[in-house]
Symmetry: none
Subunit: 209 residues, 4 copies
Amino acid sequence: MATRVPSEHGSVRKAPRQLRSRATVDTIVEAAARVLARRGWAHFTTNETASAAGVSVGSIYQYFPNKLALAEEIRKRHLDAVLAAISGSDERDAVITVEQRAAKLVDGVVAAHSVDQELHRVLLDEVPLAARSTQDQFEAEYLRRYQAVIASAPGKPDPKRDDIAGRVLSGAVEGVVHAAARHGELQSPELRAELIELVCAYLRSRCTG
Amino acid sequence: MATRVPSEHGSVRKAPRQLRSRATVDTIVEAAARVLARRGWAHFTTNETASAAGVSVGSIYQYFPNKLALAEEIRKRHLDAVLAAISGSDERDAVITVEQRAAKLVDGVVAAHSVDQELHRVLLDEVPLAARSTQDQFEAEYLRRYQAVIASAPGKPDPKRDDIAGRVLSGAVEGVVHAAARHGELQSPELRAELIELVCAYLRSRCTG
Amino acid sequence: MATRVPSEHGSVRKAPRQLRSRATVDTIVEAAARVLARRGWAHFTTNETASAAGVSVGSIYQYFPNKLALAEEIRKRHLDAVLAAISGSDERDAVITVEQRAAKLVDGVVAAHSVDQELHRVLLDEVPLAARSTQDQFEAEYLRRYQAVIASAPGKPDPKRDDIAGRVLSGAVEGVVHAAARHGELQSPELRAELIELVCAYLRSRCTG
Amino acid sequence: MATRVPSEHGSVRKAPRQLRSRATVDTIVEAAARVLARRGWAHFTTNETASAAGVSVGSIYQYFPNKLALAEEIRKRHLDAVLAAISGSDERDAVITVEQRAAKLVDGVVAAHSVDQELHRVLLDEVPLAARSTQDQFEAEYLRRYQAVIASAPGKPDPKRDDIAGRVLSGAVEGVVHAAARHGELQSPELRAELIELVCAYLRSRCTG
DNA sequence: CATGAATGAGCGTTCATTCAT
DNA sequence: GATGAATGAACGCTCATTCAT
């Protein structure tokens, strides 16, 4: 695989102003996501993407300076979808018990991992990070959901400790769901129950301890 | 046209007989591990490995049928080291409280992730699995440590539920440590304390609940 | 590990759409034929072919999935030329005597072997057959010429025996011409006379015997 | 495949004087012939030959300056065997009729092609000729058999014409048998009959014409 | 003499990227 | 703008041959 120095380093070569361009970009990104999910990063090629999108390679380079930038755009869109999936189970209804909160959280994360499992895995495990920014932004937003759960649990707040607790909770839930996804057990109700139990136990212990 | 008999390809091409060979194999694997950790799977090349090891490409193929088999050997050696690191905090001394057990477990996993962090990440996230066997064996052994902790906690055993609990615990601890490693906070004592708390809370809740 | 979908490989990678491509394909095939004839299959390399054609290796793989497919195309074109050469001495004029028929046949085969002797030898003797189809089609067409001669000879037809006779005649003429070509005596009139004599004798004996 | 300049150009590096050497050489050549027949020239490697012979590569280079010289020795031995097979049906018994002579000849050639068909084919079709000498010597000897048949046929001798006739006869019989071998019909009695007929017809026509 | 570990030029093939049309 | 033919550096891998032991 030849690694060429790309001629520009901006993430997007040209902001698509016109409707037609926007549509083309969408077509490209969607096709690229399909190809990426199907073949994996190692076999993700611009030529196949182009023909899957029904455009020429040249058109890809009209909008993206290089392959990585295209992948970056796929990641961006996917993370948005993931965030939307988490938020879907986040409506501001009368949630009261810690159990209910924990259940909402777990269901949200599971839903997020179900958006496009293979693409998710490839993006997380295979595609190299061009720039931290997108990922960081996402992680911050993601962590905020966890912090909200922490904050809503009884007990007096302690910013420093709560921050760490959020990261612990995030890592734990994420880790369990990730492992479950790898083994195709994302929908197991027993696992869901245990995971909720884990979250509850932690939250409870934090308020009593 | 006559049908040709292809030559078979085992996982190891030739068992090194002489002392010189054994040393060469070690040199190759060690150099390969360095290159793999530094460049990642996508840029892990046999030629760079060869020159990093101070041998010719041919020597790599004397002992490994292909690049993947070389990576497989790196994985094998690394997982052994990881297992050794976990076991290091596993001596059969008089551990009594759940807290002490949890602390041992967490310390072991952290130690395991400290062996060679970047190599660990690349092996887990990027290198494709040629055969499940090595990985499966490792995972089984790995899970066993968690099951042992579960089993040692008070409360009456329930094989099915305990199995799931083991996977939840494993996923959670692994997830937290993994995230911490990514952010360079593997040695943070606060994080350690919270993680131990998570494990304890879960174990306690399982025996009372 | 996810199972990857491999990309398929047809015999021709892409049908050349533009005029430029068609010209490139011709250039490549012609250069390849020259290289193949000059170096033999064992030393027939894509890189030399590319530079002999004045294109880059990539261009070869734009149109041919691999080296063998390129050789297959050379064979196809050559066999067409050979068939054309044989047919050249096949016009439907008033041929009456067996001698005249035999002479036409022999002259055709000699002409066929004169098309590009070295290429002919390499294609027949060295290049492995990827698919039987091209070769089989050619052989069938080739045999048909011999069968026609057999059929036109006096004597009552016997399908089974005539079939074998066709193969005997084909093998014999082919063998003599082949050997002559190897010794550079393809144009010898004495040899031509003897070969015609051989064919006539056989045909005569079949009708009387 | 790296092409190195061999350090010597003699066909055999060292004439094996001692019994042990002679045995080693035999072992090597026999193993090499098996490997060559099984894999074909393109996949015929010195390393596989060495391990098939139960010796080290170095030992091969003790007796043969390079791979081609080894193949040359295989050819030499095989052609001897072929000649022996032809001669086997050549005893000086009371052969009188032309038919009987022709039958003997055909049977001899068929027997020769049956010695080791795959090796025969590979040697003829794939292995390049290092030096003409071995092949030429064989061909001369081979032609002599045909000349003998020609000479023994009635009719007054004509050295020049008889020479050409020998080559025609040789090419024809060889060609038919070769084609038959390719189609696995070496043992067909119908084909044998037709071929004998061809030879007889030619011989007869030469004495009457 | 025999061994077999080591060499490295050279092969077939891929694919991100460019640019004439 | 869009196209897609063309590029060529770089990869994984092979195997004839050498030479220290």
